[in-house]
Amino acid sequence: MLLEVSNLRLYFKTLRGDVKAVDGVSFSLDKGKTLGIVGESGCGKSSTANAIVRNLPRNVSRYEGRICLEDMDLIPLSEDEFRSKIRWRRISMVFQGAMNSLNPVLKVGFQVAEPLIIHKGLSRGEALKIVEELFRLVGLSSEIVNRYPHELSGGMKQRAIIAMALTLNPDILILDEPTSALDVSIQAQIMNLLKNLKRKLGISMIFITHDIALASDICDEFGVMYAGELVELGSAEKILPSPKHPYTQKLLSSIPRLHSDKTPEFIPGAPPDLVAPPSGCRFHPRCPYVMDKCSRENPPNTLVNGGFVKCWLYK
C-alpha cells in the first residue's frame, strides 16, 4: 500500500461558520494504480487533494486525520520536513487551473526546471537538459523550453505543467481537473499522454474530476465524493456498471451518452451547504430512496464488492 488516508478532515473558517470541505475521508492507493475522485463542483475534491499535499490556505480551522505514505505518517511532519522530503519529491500535484498560473514573463523551460534547481540544487543548464527530456516525454518538442507561456496553446501549457509535476520523479501524481479547460480533441490527447505515463513510469495517480466518463479513461478505482464525504469507493469494474450508492447511480445516469439511447437523468434539488450540511446522510434531501433513518443517523461505511458504500440501504 503506497498511500493510506484515513479520517482526513479539512475545515475552513468563514464568516458564516466552518466549511466542512473534507469531512472524514478515507481511502488507499496502491502502487501503479490510479484513483479517481469524482463529484459535483464544490463537494471538496480539490480540498482533499490540497489536504494531502498540505497546500493549505490561511483560514484552515481544522486539519487532521492520518496520511500514511509507505508507513510514514505525514501529518506530524513539520512544514520544513514536508517540503523537503514529501512535496514534489514523493507527491506532486497539477493544480486546478495551473496552466493559467504560469508566470507570463518567464520562459516555460525555466519555470518547469525550477523544482530541480530548488530541490536538487542542479545548475540551470543541467536542469534545462532534464526538462528537455521531460518535454519529449509529455510530447512537447524541446525547443518549447525557450518559449513564453503566451506562445503556447492551452494543450501545450497543460503538458508543460504535467512535465513540471514529474521533474522530481514522484511516486504519486495528483491531477486536479487537468483537462477541463481544454477542447475535447486536446482533452483526448492529454488523456492518452497520462495513460502512457502511467504505463511507462508506473506512477500512481489521483485523478480529480467532475466528469466520470473522462475519469473512466484512466482510473482503476473510484471514490465518489458528496458534501465533503466519500460516499462510495470501489474498483472501476464494479462501480461503473453497477453503482451502489444512490448518488453514484444518479451521477452516472446524468451523463449524456453518445453510444446508447438512454436519456440522461438529473439530481433534483440543490447541492448542500457545507457550513451546515444535512443531518444524517448528507444526500438524504435529494435521495430517491430516502428512509426515516437516513435523516437521523449518519450511515456507516459498509463493505460491498471489495469497496465500501456509505448508505443505509446496504446495512
Binding site: V184, S216, L258
Partner: protein
Amino acid sequence: MEPILELIDIKTYFSVRKGLFKTLTVKAVDGISMTISRGEVVAVVGESGSGKTTLGRTAIKLIEPTSGKIVFKGSDITNIKGDIKWIRKEAQIIFQDPFSSLNPYMTIKQILEEPLIIHGVEDVSEREEIILRALNNVRLSPPEDFILKFPHMLSGGQRQRVCIARALVLNPSFIVADEPVSMIDASSRAEILLLFRELQEKYSIGMMYITHDIATAKYFSHNISVMYLGKIVEYGPTKEVLKNPFHPYTATLINAIPDPDPENRFRERSIVPGEPPSPINPPTGCRFHPRCPQIIDGKCSLSEPISREVDLKHFVACHLY
C-alpha cells in the same frame, strides 16, 4: 415547416490590430449557409474558436456580417439599421455564462421586467403576471421567493433558468442558445436541457443550440452542423450524423468523448493530432487537412471541398465523398 431564419453565405470577419500598423483579419465565420425552421433545433458543434458564438451573434444581428444575407421571418434583415426592435423581440440569445450575463445590480424581477418595459408592456400588473408565469415555466417556484433576489443569491443552475425566463418573456420565435449548460454542474445539466426542450416544443421556437459537447446535442437537436474554423463541414439529422459521421473531423469529435466504461483505460483513444489552426491564416484547401487522418494527397491541401448531399439531407464537405 416555415423557415424562420435563413443564413446565406454569411461571412463575419474581425480585424485585429497587431503592432502599430498591421491589421489582421480573423475569419471567424467564413461562408456559412443554414436554415432553421419554426420548432426546429439545430445544434452547432465545434471546438473552441471555430466561430460558433460569432455565428450565433451574427444570426440575430448582435454583430454585423461582413457579407452574406440574413433572412428572418421572411424579411431580409442584413442591412437594416434603425428598425431593429422587432428583431430584438422575436429573436433572443442565451449566453454561456450564467454568472456574468445577469446584471448583478438588478433583482430578478427587474431583470425579467426590462424586456417588457423596453417592448412597451406598460401595465404593471400585466408585467408582474408575465414574470410570474415565466418563473413558473422555468420551475423557479414559488416565483415570489425569487423576484426580489439578486443574481448572486442564486446557484448557477437557477441563474441559467433566469436567463431562459428572460429569453422567453417576449414570446420569441427564435433563440440562440450559446452553450447554455456548459458552466452548470453535470448533475443538473440534463435538468436544464430537458426544461429547455420542453419549453421550446411548447412554444414551437426555432433554436440554434451552440455547444462543444456533442453528447448533449444528441438529446436536444433535430439537426446538427459541425463547424471547423469558420466553416460547416457536416450537416444533417442529428441521429444520422452521430451514428454515421462522414467527415473525419466529426468522427474524431465523436470518438473523443468516451462513455463511462471500465474498459476505456485499456484502450488508446483515437485522436486528431495537433491543435486547431488560427482563423487568421486558415490552411488552404480543406481547412482540416493538416490534422486529417484520411488526407488524400495532392487534393485536400489544394482545393476546397464543397458541401454535397451524401445521404438524405445529410451534407458533408469533404473530398472523400
